[in-house]
C-alpha cells in the first residue's frame, strides 16, 4: 500500500514539471528567444543597390522546410551535406562569403565558410556551396542542432541569413556517451527521488515514538507496580528490562522500576 501511494505522489509531480516546461517554451519563443528566418530588406543593406533576394538548399531541399526542430534535416555518422547558396540582386556585387554556423544552447560551436562567386547579371546572380559535416563532436552529442546559413558582404556584415535545424544521429556505442549517460542519470535520479520520498514516509509512523526508534529504556515488567516500590525494593524490575551493564545500588529503584525510596 505504501509503495502505491509513493508512485501516486510522484507521477503528478513529474507530469507537472514536464507540462510547465512545455508551456514555457512557446512563451519564450514568442518573446524572441527563437530567431526566425531573416531576410534583410533592401533598405537595410549596407552595401549594394536595389532589391536583394537569396535562398539556400540542404542536399537539394529548401532550408525553410526545416525551420523547426520537428522538421529538422537528419544527418548520420560520416555523412556530409551539400549546402548551396544562391542570391540575386541589382548592383549587388560585393557578397564575399557564405557561412554556416552551428549554435548549441546559444553558443556558436563551429563556423564553416566558403567564397561566394558571381555567375551572371544584371541583375547580379551568384552563389556558393559548402560541404558540411558535424565534425569531431559527432560521437559525443546526438540531437537537434540549430544551423544558421548566411551570406556575408566584404566587410563582414550579413546580407542574408536563415536558421534551420539538423538532427545529428550517432551510433549507440561507447563513443556516443553523453546522451546515454544522461539517460542513465535520469533513471538514477528518479530512483533516488522516489527512495527519498519513501524514506520520508517511513520516518513518520503512528504510535509511541520511542517504541520504534531504538531499544532504549524498557518499561517495567508486567506485574511490577511502577510507582509503589517500597524502601526495600532492590530495583530488580529495572535491571530486568535490559540495563544489566550498570547494576543498581542497593536500596535504590531501577531505571524502569521507578521504585525509589518513597
Amino acid at each position: 500500500m505504501r509503495s502505491e501511494r509513493g508512485r501516486v505522489q510522484f507521477l503528478p509531480a513529474t507530469a507537472l514539471a514536464a507540462a510547465a516546461l512545455v508551456l514555457v517554451g512557446p512563451l519564450m519563443g514568442a518573446a524572441g528567444g527563437f530567431p526566425s528566418p531573416t531576410l534583410r530588406g533592401p533598405g537595410e543593406l549596407p552595401l549594394g543597390v536595389g532589391p536583394f533576394s537569396a535562398s539556400a538548399t540542404w542536399n537539394g531541399n529548401s532550408l525553410s522546410s526545416a525551420g523547426s526542430p520537428a522538421t529538422a534535416f537528419s544527418i548520420q555518422r560520416g555523412d556530409t551535406a551539400l549546402v548551396r547558396f544562391n542570391y540575386t540582386g541589382l548592383g549587388v556585387t560585393e557578397v564575399a562569403n557564405a557561412s554556416l554556423k552551428v549554435t548549441y544552447l546559444g553558443v556558436v560551436l563551429t563556423t564553416s565558410k566558403a567564397l561566394a562567386h558571381v555567375t551572371g547579371g544584371p541583375p547580379v546572380t551568384g552563389g556558393s556551396q559548402i560541404n558540411w559535416s558535424f565534425g569531431p563532436l559527432y560521437n559525443a552529442l546526438e540531437g537537434v542542432f540549430q544551423l544558421t546559413a548566411s551570406l556575408l558582404y566584404v566587410n563582414g556584415s550579413t546580407a542574408w541569413s536563415e536558421s534551420f535545424y539538423v538532427f545529428v544521429k550517432t551510433p549507440y556505442n561507447l563513443e556516443s556517451g553523453a546522451v546515454i549517460v544522461l539517460l542513465i542519470l535520469t533513471v538514477a535520479e528518479l530512483y533516488w527521488g522516489i527512495s527519498s520520498i519513501r524514506e520520508a514516509r517511513r520516518g513518520r509512523k503512528p504510535g509511541p515514538p520511542a517504541s520504534s526508534a531504538s531499544p532504549g529504556p524498557v518499561p517495567p515488567a508486567s506485574g511490577t507496580p511502577p510507582a509503589t516500590g517500597g524502601p526495600g525494593s532492590t530495583g530488580s524490575a529495572g535491571t530486568a528490562g535490559g540495563s544489566t551493564e550498570v547494576p543498581a545500588p542497593p536500596g535504590s529503584g531501577g531505571a524502569g522500576g521507578g521504585g525509589g525510596p518513597a
Binding site: R2, F34, V144, L182, E189, S196
Partner: protein, 66 residues
Amino acid sequence: MSAASRAASSGAVLGIVLVFLMQQFGLLALTGIVASVLYFAVAAILGGVVFGVAAWAAGRRPVPVP
C-alpha cells in the same frame, strides 16, 4: 541531510537533465544563452520544489497501520 532535501536535490538534477535531453531530441529549441539559463534554472527550481514538497508532505502524513 533530511529525506526532503535529498528528494529536492534529486528533483533539481532531474529537471536539468530532462531539459538537456529535451533540447537534444528536439522537444525544446534553446537557441539563446539567456533562454537556456532561464530554462535550466526554472527546471531545477521546479523539480526541486516538486520533489521536496512531495517528500515533506509524505513525511508529515502518518501512515495508517493495519
